[in-house]
Symmetry: C2
Subunit: 292 residues, 2 copies
């Protein structure tokens, strides 16, 4: 598994290195900010899910790497914008200064904007793929990141800050803010191989729904129990920002119980895929046991 | 011509009305901000060019309307972000309060982000179109709006503010910031009909290159000569912000001479397209004679 993670990271990083605008091209400061944020480390969970899912239905190839790079760029854009003073106002990300602190707010806004467009651009540069499948991949990325996903999730998050939120609202917020992109990552990895059957996609849909929520609950548990050093972002930030979290609504013990149940759901969903889904099983395990 | 403009505005506005998230859907404040900015008026130049170009090579249809809506959403996103305090810090846009003044900065950042994704989404919802052409349309929109266009243009603009800029840099900045999207608008309108030949696209490329630069020079002339009321944004803002403009670099008279020459280039480029390009001729005339 360790080899798989390292290989996946290497391939995605090489691809990002190749396609991101160089610091010598016009817009030097913007390009430096883009590269700073993309190469600030990070768990690369979405690329891992994309590769794991490609393995579950076929063979990862050059397109898998490009899809994974697109997912990571889209995710990085959201981190840069979420950290802005007008949003969550965080100055630490992935253990380094947030983009707007290392550069400036205007550059950070543009870096996020640029990464959103670079992610879509990357998906228009796949090779030897049925154009209809290619369009479906773009549809899925937009569904995860746009108004049916991440952006609206962040809007609800901002509107809810300081207010008491009930469990259904919290689940809906994180379904949009995080789980939608996690689901897109899984489905895109499988679709990109050109081999995915409807039954396989159904199983992957169930898997990704469960792991998306589990991911967020684990994040909330870590916000309470981990350290700033382990997390690479400010520990306890959600509590201080008076955000409702799964731990504040459910309590830590019940939140942990939920993660366990969701993990079981993940594993059960993968049953029809047999051994080829082992990587997805390992990723699920990593997601619910990580301490950062 | 008046009828053409009104019909084009109506069709694009109807389409935008239909597809933009409603203020009753989750993310109410975000959705309100999106609609506020999109329906704040505006010349709808990019939709006009898209329709004009469709007429030049075939018949505008439902897809033309969707492409035009995508262009307008992408343009509106750029206006919202450009107006932010960390960027150009403008509080007036299209005769109304800028999005971040009417709502708040966080919501304005998200509204821009959302519109960028909604624009791409719209292009994945065309009907009866060759998927390869559909992908090319997405490629063109990203080329106009992303790092090969608008975003990098804005980054160079920000880096140049307060500095003396020479003419080649100024031309390159506006080629990226404005002309690239103008060119995409023209090419997408033609491509979307499914009828465009290589020769026609070549003629349209020359036309759009010339009209894109003419558009920006005229904007700079208006920044000096028009009134805030006519412009719908703060007159003289560029001068106050110590931005290099075509009028500051060339002088007003020489800038006007340039607009005239570029207009002639436009008209000459359209020669091979015959009478079917009359709408594009009228739009060019409108662009260089407008006082807002």
């Amino acid at each position: 598994m360790e080899t798989f993670i390292v290989e996946c990271h290497d391939q995605v990083n090489d691809q990002l290195e190749k396609i991101l605008p160089s610091e010598k091209e016009p817009g030097e400061r913007l390009n430096a900010a883009i590269r700073y944020s993309v190469f600030s480390g990070g768990k690369r969970i979405r690329p891992l899910l994309c590769f794991g899912s490609a393995c579950a239905v076929g063979e990862p190839d050059e397109n898998t790497t490009k899809i994974a790079a697109a997912l990571e760029m889209m995710h990085t854009y959201s981190l840069i914008h979420d950290d802005l003073p007008a949003m969550d106002d965080d100055d630490l990300r992935r253990g380094k200064r947030a983009c707007h602190r290392e550069f400036d707010e205007g550059t950070a806004i543009l870096a996020g904007d640029a990464l959103q467009s670079l992610a879509i651009k990357q998906l228009t540069e796949l090779s030897d793929i049925d154009p209809s499948i290619n369009l479906e991949l773009i549809r899925l990325l937009v569904r995860g990141s746009g108004t049916q996903g991440m952006v609206t999730g962040q809007a609800i998050d901002m509107a809810s800050t300081g207010a008491q939120v009930d469990l259904p609202t919290l689940v809906e917020m994180h379904r949009l803010k995080t789980a939608a992109m996690i689901q897109s990552s899984v489905l895109m990895g499988a679709l990109g191989t050109g081999n995915a059957t409807e039954d396989q996609l159904d199983a992957l849909k169930s898997y990704s729904t469960a792991i998306g929520v589990a991911f967020q609950i684990q994040d909330d548990i870590l916000d309470v129990e981990s350290t700033t050093q382990d997390m690479g972002k400010n520990q306890g930030a959600d509590t201080r920002a008076e955000k409702s979290t799964f731990t504040s609504v459910l309590g830590v013990d019940s939140a942990k119980e939920n993660v366990k149940e969701l993990y079981d759901d993940c594993i059960n969903s993968l049953e029809p895929l047999g051994e080829s889904a082992d990587k997805l099983r390992h990723i699920a395990n990593f997601i619910v046991t990580r301490n950062f």
